[in-house]
Structure formats: C-alpha cells, structure tokens
C-alpha cells in the first residue's frame, strides 16, 4: 500500500465533497455575513418601560419646566414641559443637553482636599470635620466676619440657607455674583424703592425697544423670550434692537440700530429728553414721580441734547427723535435693558435710564408693559439662633458690596481680608473680568471651600471641594426671575439617584452646622434638606409637590408705583472702558455657548460655528472695513490693557467698524477635552471698571488693538 498523489487528491476531494453537502458552507456564509455587520463594542442601550418625570431646569436663570424621559428609570432625554407656565413646552439646547452634565468628565465624584496643589479624595465625614474645625477656630478667635460666601444668586432656599448659615455664624459677608436679576432688582430699588424687581411682558408688548438685550441670545428666561419673539411676529409687534453688532436678535428685529459700544445710557437719556420735551410722557403715571422730575428734565436737556448724543452714539439725531417718538406713541411700549444676556458687567446708570423710558410712557404694571413687582417672598426662614459672637460679627460692616469688589480688595491687601471663603455654584475665577487677578486673590485666601458639581477654574483654586449633586439629582425650589413677567416657583426634583458620592448643598450645610454644634446646630434644626425645604415653603408646598410648581402671580401687579428720579437727576458718570486704543473689544453672548456655571456641554460645543472655534483657535469678529492689514481667517494678535492673545479673524459685515467681537464662555482651562482648551476666555482681556453708583463692575468691554500675527 502506498500513499501517493492520488490518495491526497482523494482525501482533498472527499473533504470538499463532504463539506459541500454538509450545511457548513451555507451556514458559515450566512453567519460570516452577519458577523461583518456586528460591532460588539458599540453600546446596545437596554429597552424598557418609558416613563416621564417632571422637574425644573436650574442651569440658567430661565427656570424652564422640563420633562425627563426615562427607560426603566434610566433618564435618556430632557424635553420642555408643555404645561410649565414659564416655557410652555420647548427647551433650549443647554437644558436638552442636561443629561450630559450628569456624567460630565469634569464632575467632582467625591469630596476632595487639596494637598500641595494636588487633590486627594476624602470622605464626606472627613471633609465636613475639616471645614468645621476651621470654622470653629474662626469663632474661637471671635472673628466670624472673616468667613465670606459667594453664591450664584440670592434667590431661593439654597442661597437662603447660605445666608442663614452666615447669619448664625456671625458674618455679614454674603455676596452674590452679578446676574440679570440682581441688576433688575437694583434698578427697581433705585427707582421704585427696595424689595422690588422688574419683569417685562414681552408676550403682549407691541413695541420692544431693546438696548442690546439678547432676547434670542439667552437674555432673561430664554425659551419664554424665544416664544415672545415668535409671537411678536405674529402679532405684528415691533422690535428695535440697539447694539453695535448684528446679533441674532438684531437679525430678527424690525430695525437694527447700530450704536457705539457703551453709549446706550446716553441714548436712553436723550430719548427721555425727547419724551419730556415733546410732552409725550404719561401725566397720570407722572403723578407718582418723586425726587425732581423737573431737575431730571433740565439735566437731560442740558447734558444730553439730541445732537450731542447723536455724535456720541453714532445714531443720527433724526433717528433718535423718530425712534423715541415711535416708542412713546406705541400702545404698549417696553424698553429692555441688559446687554447680551444681561449678566456680568452692566451699568446701573444704563439700566435706570432705560427703565426711565418705561416710567415716562406710564406703561408700568399694565398688560404688555413693564412690571414693577415684589421680589418673590415665599420663603419663611426662621430667625437664626445667634450667640454673642454671631451678633457682634453680623453687626460689622460688610467687606464689599460685590464679589468683584471683594476680589479686588483681597488682591490689593497684604493682610488676609478673608480667612475662609465659601463658593457655591459659581466660577468667579472664570466669569469675573480679569480672572488672572481673581485667581491671584483666591490664592491669598487661606481656606476656600467650594460647593460645586464640576472641577472648574474656581474649584481648582479651592482647598476643600464638597461635591454637589446636579439639578437632576436633588430637590430645590426654583423661583422665576431675570425679567420674567409673572412669578412662578418651581420644584426641581431628583429624576435619578446620585451618580457619584454627592449631596444636595442644603444637606451639606445642615451637616456642617450640626457638626459645629451650639447655636449653629440650633439654627439648622432640620434632619435633612427636603424637610427643611418643606418647612420653608409652607404656603406652597402642596402645590409644589403636587404640580411641580406654584404660580405666585400672573399678569400685571396691582398697586401704585412711585418713581424716584434722584439717582439719575444727579447725572452719574457714564463708565468708560480702560485703555486708549482705537478699537473696542466687546464680549458676544452666543446662545450656543454657556458663559457661567456650568460650562457648555459637549453637545453645545458641537453646535458652535467653525467661525467661532476652529480646532483650538478662536475667532474674533471684525468689520472688513476696519480690518486694515488683516485677512479673513488669518491670525491676529489682540492686545488690551488686560493682556494679549492670538486669535483668528472672522470678517463680519454685521459688526460696526472699530469694534472687535469675541464670544463669551470659551477658553476654559479644566480637564474636559470636549469643552475646555478651546479658544480664549474674553474676560482675560477685560479689566473691571467699578461704577460709583452701584459699586459693581460696569466694564462692558475694553479698548484694544489688533495686528496681524
């Protein structure tokens, strides 16, 4: 027997024949074709029962109702809540991206303690003990006023608890970051007395004179404003937009009136002059004028004659007159202050002058007008239990009138001004003008405790970080604000279990106060934040827990309003930006970029135009007419008294010659590759200018030069 070629041939043929009439071929062909369609590493989201949770978004002052779609309890999508009386369905891109914040790469996952420039994780117990020990020492030293606190807002129970904590502790130094609401409240206080704020009935007004308010750029309650803008077109109501740049709001307006940056107050004053001169003010409402209307009239006629203001603003005298008269003759005119989103640096003079236009027309507390309404007062805080140390401390003078002033004071002082600083839900090391100075000031504060959800610029400059649950993981009362006409209090409710070892800020404060013991513990005699909240809002808890919101007021507020002209009659100075170069650099509010806390989500950054960010480079907008020596898309160096940055140039016919526009909210420097490291923070180029009347930063921009790089 011999194995030869033929045998092998037989073997091969036999194998082939055997396989061929077995199912292997057919089956493997089918299976391998399916295999090519398989990507086992792509996630397969598990299916399940669809449910919806109703809550309120707290990402911005807009306070929109949201509906969270869940699959077997797993949140998968945020949408606008159709029946919520602020947004009535619809949501902005940041709210819709909300779920990304839950799993954001820069979230703080556990309490952290700084150890030689590095953070090490500690337990909640350790963290609270650490902070309590520090605070205990401060009180032993009888200097409770050296504890300061900066919160994002002064409305709502969480800000209230921080204030309560400071009062019980003995510090008057509770400060809030400037936001549109704080500017509106300050304006209302200046013109109509304390405890009031302003709302604008944009849904019904028939003539909106906007002094740069980015009505569709995120000003006020964004979704409500978007709806008002759409409704305006249907109603045939007019919108005149006065600002140096053709923003989206200007693009959608009936008229865009370009104005030299920072001269809005002058224009409003001149318009007041026209109204008074032409006798176009409302005599009935004028009965409530106090503090020298005649003095005010004489002042504006003398200091703000239309011809002179025309030269300052770059708007023709005829145009100023025509616009003022059209405004005054409209049935329901509303003048809206607050450049861009209306937060950050603004000017009280400007707000007051613009609101005076409203007062002169008398369209106050009427449908389609401006509402002078009480600050929402639904919270019933018990008096803090104070000991002698606390009483002495709170009686001391406040260190500063604003966060900006405090930072400047700390920066300039050699001796420690503040021993311990609490920061809640705000990022001053990024959002205040001149963040380099802010960071330097933070380094001089011995102990910074940050209640935050994200490892942002300020968190990195802190000593202890107490990780806070996001708005999707906790309870919070959410009052409407920022110029919203009605007053609605919403209830944010947890739609998902905490993803990380985080707590509600209220629970952290209660824990801290209890650890401190004594009068602090007595002042915080609640078992947890939810119980606390329930006890603080006895009148509306039923509505809140049942409907998710309580409507405090809708429609025009009742009662007479008096207007005090004393502040404006003194003609406070118009603030000038720093520097003496030819160009004026102004920040641009872009709806797709968040500029405060939290920073933009990856989705939001994805929608940003490649004419704003390309790779890591940022564009500035400039009118080609004033871009001598620059090329569209080319590199340039922008220099201001604040610093110098390399940017790319975007020629835009929609910006006034002589103005450089730069989008706010970019150039973050923290660990999130999707959001940070892109472009420049425009605030780094802008130096604060403190307005005497308000004590607040009024630097709307800064003088700059731009040269080819």
């Amino acid at each position: 027997m011999k194995v030869d070629r033929r045998s092998f041939l037989g073997l091969g043929l036999g194998a082939v024949a055997g396989i061929a009439i077995s199912p292997v071929g057919a089956k493997l062909t089918d299976d391998s074709s399916i295999w090519t369609q398989n990507w086992p590493w792509t996630p397969v989201p598990p299916d399940g029962k669809i449910t919806y949770d109703q809550s309120v978004c707290t990402l911005c002052p807009g306070t929109c109702g949201i509906s969270v779609r869940k699959i077997d309890g797993r949140p998968i999508k945020i949408e606008g809540q159709d029946t919520y009386p602020v947004n009535n369905g619809g949501a902005c891109l940041h709210g819709i991206s909300g779920l990304q914040y839950l799993y954001d790469p820069s979230r703080v996952k556990t309490p952290l303690k700084k150890n030689n420039d590095r953070f090490e994780p500690i337990s909640w117990e350790e963290a609270i003990t650490l902070v309590a020990r520090r605070l205990g020492k401060i009180r032993e030293n009888q200097s409770p006023e050296t504890l300061a606190c900066i919160t994002d807002t002064n409305l709502g129970s969480v800000a209230g608890l921080f204030a309560h904590f400071l009062a019980a502790f003995g510090s008057p130094n509770q400060l809030t970051m400037p936001e549109l609401e704080s500017w509106l409240a300050l304006t209302a206080q200046t013109l109509h007395g304390p405890g009031r704020t302003l709302g604008f009935d944009l849904d019904n007004a028939d003539f909106i004179l906007s002094f740069g308010a980015g009505i569709i750029e995120g000003w006020g309650s964004p979704v409500a404003c978007f709806k008002a803008n759409s409704g305006r077109r249907q109603r045939g109501a007019k919108l005149y937009q006065i600002e140096p740049r053709l923003s989206n709001t200007a693009g959608t307006a009936d008229r865009w009136i370009p104005i030299n940056p920072g001269t809005e107050a002058d224009l409003a004053m001149a318009m007041c002059g026209v109204l008074l001169q032409e006798n176009l003010f409302d005599p009935e409402f004028a009965a409530g004028f106090r503090g020298g209307l005649n003095r005010f009239n004489a002042m504006v006629q003398q200091k703000y004659p239309v011809d002179q203001v025309a030269a300052v603003t770059g708007i023709s005298a005829a145009d100023i007159k025509k616009t003022a008269i059209a405004f005054a003759k409209a049935k329901m005119p509303v003048a809206v202050p607050g450049k861009g989103r209306g937060d950050g640096a603004q000017s009280l003079k400007e707000f007051a002058a613009i609101h005076t236009l409203n007062c002169l027309t008398g369209n106050i507390n009427k449908k389609g007008g401006t509402f002078v309404k009480p600050v929402p007062g639904y919270l019933a805080f018990p008096d803090p239990v104070q000991d002698a140390v606390a009483r002495d401390g709170t009686a001391k003078e406040k260190l500063a009138g604003s966060a900006q002033e405090l930072v400047t004071k700390i920066h300039r002082s050699d001796a420690p001004v503040v021993d311990t600083l609490f920061v809640y839900n705000t990022n001053p090391c990024y959002t205040l003008n001149n963040p380099v100075q802010t960071r330097a000031a933070f380094e001089k504060i011995p102990f910074v405790v940050n209640f935050t959800s994200f490892m942002d610029e300020t968190a990195m400059a802190s000593d202890v970080i107490l990780p806070i649950s996001t708005f999707l993981e906790r309870f919070e009362d959410v009052p409407s604000k920022a110029g919203f006409a009605g007053t609605v209090v919403g209830l944010a409710r947890p739609v998902v279990d905490t993803v990380f070892d985080t707590r509600s800020p209220g629970d952290a404060l209660i824990h801290l106060a209890k650890t401190l013991g004594g009068t602090m513990g007595k002042s915080f005699d609640w078992p947890d934040y939810k119980t606390c909240l329930k006890s603080l809002v006895p009148g509306i808890w039923k509505d809140l827990s049942k409907n998710g919101h309580a409507v405090a007021s809708q429609g025009p507020p009742a009662g007479r309003v008096t207007t005090d002209f004393a502040f404006l009659a003194e003609n406070p100075p118009t603030m000038q930006p720093q520097g003496d170069d030819d160009f004026t650099l102004v920040p641009i509010d872009n709806m797709r970029v968040a500029s405060t806390v939290p920073a933009s989500s990856p989705f939001a950054i994805k929608t940003v135009s490649d004419k704003v960010i390309k790779g890591r480079d940022m564009f500035v907008e400039i009118n080609p007419r004033s871009a001598t020596g620059l090329a569209d898309g080319g590199f340039a160096i922008v220099t201001t008294p604040g610093g110098s940055v390399k940017v790319r140039v975007n020629f835009n016919e929609g910006i006034m010659p002589g103005v450089i526009g730069m989008v706010k909210g970019l150039g973050h420097k923290f660990d999130n590759k999707y959001v940070a490291g892109k472009g420049v923070n425009v605030k780094e180029l802008i130096c604060p200018v403190i307005e005497p009347g308000s004590g607040l930063d009024a630097a709307f921009g800064i003088k700059a030069k731009i040269l080819k790089a």
Partner: protein
C-alpha cells in the same frame, strides 16, 4: 408597492423668520438619536449633525447686512415626479437606504450600509454623514443612550430619519388604543418639539387637516414648467431648496424676506426675476 390612498407624506415646514439659530433642534436631534461627539467638532465636514443650522447673509455690507438661519434636516426627497427615486436611494448599491412609499420617509439602515458613500455624493443637501470613527462616550455617559435608535458604528453613513422611531411609538399607541389614524400631535420629530421659537411645523402633507398642509398648500399637479417638480407650494412665501432639480424635498422653508427665498437655489444673473413669480405662486389650481 404600498400605495394605498391612505399613504402618508410626512414633511416639514420651517419658518426662517421665527428661527433664532439657537441650536435646540440640533441638540434635541443629537440627544434623541444617540449621535456621538468627539473632542474636536470644529471640522464641520466630519461633524455629525443630522439637523444642521446654516447661517445665511444677504451679502450686503454694514449696516445693510442681514442674517437668517436655516436648519437643514434630511430633505426626504421624493425624487423626480415624486416617484421615490431619491438621489441617494437611486445610487445605493447595498439597498441600505430606501423610500418608504407609505410615509415618504427615506430610510438608512446602518447594518446594511457598507460605507461606499455614493449616497453622500448624490445628496445635493449634504444631509448625510459618514462615521469615520467608532462612537465613544465618556465613561458612564452611554447610560443616557436611547434604545429606540441603534447606535452606529465606524464605516457607515447616517442621516435624519424624521425620528421614525417616534412614528413607530405613535403607531404602537394607536394600535393599543384601537385607533386607525395617528393624531397630528402624536407623531412629531424631536427637533419640532424642542424648537423654543415654534419655527418647525411637522405633519402629513397628504392630510388637509394638518397644519403643514394648510401652510404649504402643496400643488396636486406637477409644475407646468418642469414636470419633474411635484408638490410645489402654492404659498408665495414657501420654497424648497434647489427645487428646480426635481428632487422634490418634503422639507419646505418659509420666509417673508425675498433675499432668503432667493438663497434657496443658485440663480444666474437676472434669473431670479424671471422665475420668482413662478415660485410659490399658484401657476394653476
């Protein structure tokens, strides 16, 4: 072919005068349809946004310049004469995309697609996107993915589906309730419900009771000047993109502004003046 009388023709009309360019539609779409994101999304050629918002300008210089925004989903072309030969469907060698005659929706089946990108070349609206990379979500973020839309993988093309899964869910509900007709509100795309300006109106172009039908007033007859064009709007403010190509999109746009309408197509010098009156205005009834 299912071409029963009750066939739907889902479409969209976008009011460009209401659109604020805010980007809610884009993000709502990304969140609804499990669209991933990368570290750098500034190269818009490889940035996947089924619903992309373009910025339009009238090209005039300061201060006469004007801007508008134009959201652009897949146009769900009916093809020449509306017979379902959409540009992409006609070229797909894998039958990974087809025209649903029952809904008028152009599909894209990811597991079927082998990534030749013919469809992307054929689409005159740049509505199709190629997955150059596998999607990667930061740790934990894959928890928000929706089971109603399959996450895609590297090497396939994807595009807007008019949120077809929402149609499926609406139908399931209708079956359960024993109703034949799906209410207008029961099936709305994610971009439509998200739009804070209410600029997007979605519905059945074949259903006279739907808002879109009342706004668009689609011409039941082919365009007498170009028989390939069907369903032209009889509303003078309404237009479609590159309408003269005969792709017959089911996405309509609306604007009071003539310069915006003119940007709907590429016109030679003087051509707009000749054709503008044929556009939108009822050539016949």
């Amino acid at each position: 072919m299912i071409q029963d009388k009750k066939a739907h023709k889902f479409g969209m009309v976008i009011d460009l005068d209401k659109c604020t360019g805010c980007g809610s539609c884009t993000v709502s779409c990304m969140s609804e349809n499990n669209i991933p994101f990368k570290e750098d999304e500034s190269d818009k050629k490889d940035s996947i946004t089924w619903m992309r918002v373009y910025r339009l300008t009238n090209g005039k210089s300061f201060p006469d310049t004007q801007i508008a925004y134009m959201p652009r989903p897949c146009q769900h072309c009916g093809g020449k004469g509306g017979h379902g030969h959409s540009p992409c469907v006609s070229v797909c060698p894998a039958t990974a995309t087809d025209y649903g005659y029952d809904t008028g929706i152009v599909s894209q089946i990811y597991t079927r697609c082998f990534g030749c990108r013919y469809c992307m070349g054929a689409c005159p609206y740049h509505a199709r996107y190629f997955n150059w990379w596998d999607p990667v979500w930061p740790e934990g973020m894959e928890k928000y993915l929706s089971p109603n839309v399959s996450p895609r993988m590297r090497g396939v093309v994807e595009k807007c589906s008019f949120c077809y899964h929402r149609y499926q869910l609406a139908r399931e509900k209708a079956y359960y309730d024993g109703v034949d007709e799906i209410e207008e509100d029961a099936y709305q795309t994610a971009c439509t419900t998200a739009c804070p300006a209410g600029a997007i109106i979605f519905g059945d172009l074949n259903n006279p009771s739907h808002r879109i039908h009342q706004i668009v007033k689609p011409d039941p007859h082919p365009d007498p000047l170009n028989h390939d064009v069907v369903g032209k709007s009889r509303n003078p403010k309404v237009f479609r993109l590159l309408e003269r190509l005969g792709t017959n999109p089911k996405v309509y746009y609306m604007s009071e502004r003539e310069w915006v309408r003119k940007l709907g197509d590429n016109y030679l010098d003087g051509e707009w003046e000749k054709v503008k009156n044929h556009y939108g205005s009822a050539s016949h009834d």
